[in-house]
Symmetry: C2
Subunit: 113 residues, 2 copies
Amino acid sequence: MTLRGYLTQLLKGNTDVLILSLLSRESMYGHQIMKELERESRGFLRVSEGTLYPALHRLAREGLVRSRWTKLPGGKERKMYSLTSKGETRLADCRSTWDVFAAAMNTITKPAG
Amino acid sequence: MTLRGYLTQLLKGNTDVLILSLLSRESMYGHQIMKELERESRGFLRVSEGTLYPALHRLAREGLVRSRWTKLPGGKERKMYSLTSKGETRLADCRSTWDVFAAAMNTITKPAG
DNA sequence: TGCCATACATCGCACTACAAGGGGACGCCC
DNA sequence: GGGCGTCCCCTTGTAGTGCGATGTATGGCA
């Protein structure tokens, strides 16, 4: 595993949580999620379209997010995603799991030397 | 992705870092790594043999760890793993990446609401 | 006309965790 | 002896997931 590959692996599984977190604040469409993620992490976190759209469909299939086509003033359509109540519950559970995991990581990777 | 699956995904990629971290303290053999990991995380982190051994071989192939068969007083043999200097460098890099990633995760999943 | 950005989507590849299985040794209990 | 648990190493097949490449369509800009 390369160092670059490490970041890729870190993203695995966490993309779902990151998406759920962003949607917990407000409804967003696909590209908006990508941009927000990159902006809030100061360019550190980036997901490609080949990652994002399958992830959104996966979350929708599980009933964690809901999608709805929305007409813009210009007539164009955008697919807006929002969090369901089931998604909120899942997000809370994931946050707890993350906290414990992060604590364990810090304990093991940074011994009180 | 189930909640249980989330922990599995969190482990992906991080197993290598966890193994490197443990070996940075002292040389260990396979089963010892498994037990230490579980003990230090208070039972939270567990890797199966089907995860551990391929990971160790992977790290060895990359030159990050070194293995050596060691004879025990009883005559049995154990395969001891130790960190190489290349492994130390990689570990330091991974720790940095982890710190930035964890910070980004905390920022995004826990907005200053 | 060409190129880039926006916006949604799919496909194949590479990687990795894990359950399941194999092989062998030792000790304990019935 | 036979069964069971622990230790110790290992491999194989499956499932899940990020990503590059590609497709489709619209619109702005030179």
